[in-house]
Amino acid sequence: MIRIENLYKRFGRNEVLKGVDLNIPEGGIYAVLGPNGSGKTTLIKSVLGLVIPNKGSIKVLDRPVKGQWKYREEINYLPQIANFPGNIRVKELIGMIKDLRQKAGDEGTLIRMFGLEPFLDKKLANLSGGTKQKVNLVLTFMFDSPVIVLDEPTSGLDPASMIALKDLIQKEKQAGKTFLITTHIMQFVEEIADQVVYLLEGQVYYTGTLSGLLEKTGQKDLEYAIAAITSEK
């Protein structure tokens, strides 16, 4: 589904990705973990074509993505920081994205799920961080695409919305979708992830199941396992 080979990316003098190889087959939830600055967001943005890699290749659904844009029709992306144009209303934003993607979207269910009805006529600049994140989630999940990429989906969410999000992810997984998720909330990873990918200093340190990572580090708890790898280096 997504195949990344020998990926390098440098921002000025700062080498962020140093030869990442990763193969993500169809279906299931992949959590990309790693300390701050390990290159998680850069990796995800490279898959989406927001960041142009210096070297290496990325294929999505067996097609190289370099210089392409059509393949993004198959991807729903939730950006890390919900930056929206402040002067338009929530309803207009949803309509606009639907218009741009030329796809039918199922926003009604999602709006009810996250309780966004009272905010539909409000301007985005006047929303709180958590509400913006909910709008972000609606925009991401309202289309039916085989690949869903979430960058820090839990940031700013209250417990009720967190539960709604987890249900949503499970439901989409049942439908055969492939997820690529980055997060720092280990409890969230333990609950939903099928496989974890651990990035460290721009390289893939570990790919496999959660229990495998625990075994490899000799720790009982994921949080401690991650901390152990980070401090070891």
């Binding site: 921002f11 943005k45 989406l48 074509g49 927001l50 960041v51 142009i52 210089g67 844009w69 059509k70 393949y71 993004r72 029709e73 992306y77 950006p79 930056n83 929206f84 144009p85 402040g86 002067n87 338009i88 606009m96 994205i97 218009d99 741009l100 993607r101």
Partner: protein, 260 residues
């Protein structure tokens, strides 16, 4: 691209600045007509204002819009849209709405004053056409500056410097060269130097069309010889068009390589 253009244009039409710009031109047109009491004279005064102000407003507005719509751009980049069409759509939205304010703001008072019955209609149309081209040129240059500079303050600084250079400093250097090398024949040099600055080129094009090239003295005669002919007019028009296309081409090349 048309969709992006639509949303950018729509977004701009709702912003206060388009109206400020429109009202400014409306007021300017009315005051000029009131003071000059004559259409052709008002057109000449208008030229001096358009040549300097239109580039300034297009530059500032272009940079401002680019930085302000960063969030919108980031949102669009993750959608299945071609990169160059996102930026070109935004650019055309800005330049288009500025040109519309210019055409409507100046066109309305002049039309009400009886422009269509007068002989000044051709000159006035040329003036508006050149104002539109200058808007597209300088908005394009401003987008180029903004996409190359993450830092807003720097971007604004460079944009204002660009305008200052083209509108003021270039002419100063030009004059200085003419004085220093006054013993040499400078006709070809001044022709070429004019072509490299869209503001100078526009000014001379309008001056020649208004038949007041005598103001330029001997050089005016040389210019009239070259630019006053049909061929000269076509060449200088083509150069202005080239000036419009170059920033667009460079913008789409820059957009392809940029990380977000």
């Amino acid at each position: 691209m048309l969709k992006i253009l639509k949303y950018s244009f729509y977004d701009l039409m709702r912003s206060r600045w388009s109206y400020v710009y429109f009202l400014f031109y409306l007021l300017l047109g009315m005051v000029l007509l009131f003071l000059n009491n004559d259409l052709s004279k008002a057109v000449i005064t208008l030229m001096n204002i358009i040549i300097i102000l239109v580039p300034l407003i297009a530059t500032i507005f272009g940079v401002m819009y680019f930085y302000n719509s960063r969030e919108f751009t980031e949102l669009l980049l993750a959608q299945p849209l071609k990169r160059s069409s996102i930026f070109l759509g935004q650019y055309l939205g800005v330049a288009g709405s500025l040109t519309m304010s210019l055409v409507l703001g100046l066109g309305l008072p002049f039309a009400l004053y009886g422009l269509f019955q007068s002989g000044a209609i051709l000159n006035f149309s040329l003036l508006i056409l050149i104002g539109g081209l200058l808007t597209f040129i300088f908005a394009g240059l401003a987008f180029n500056i903004a996409i190359s500079n993450e830092n807003r303050i720097k971007g604004f600084g460079y944009a204002v410097l660009l305008w200052l250079f083209m509108a003021v400093i270039y002419d100063g250097l030009f004059l200085l060269t003419l004085i220093v090398f006054e013993e040499y024949p400078l006709d070809t040099f001044s022709l070429i130097a004019t072509v490299f600055n869209p503001i100078d080129l526009s000014r001379i094009l309008i001056l020649l069309k208004l038949d007041i090239s005598a103001l330029l003295g001997y050089t005016g005669a040389v210019f009239k010889d070259f630019l006053g002919t049909r061929l000269g007019f076509i060449i200088s028009g083509a150069v202005l068009l080239l000036w419009t296309l170059l920033p667009v081409w460079s913008l789409s090349a820059k957009a392809k390589r940029k990380d977000f």
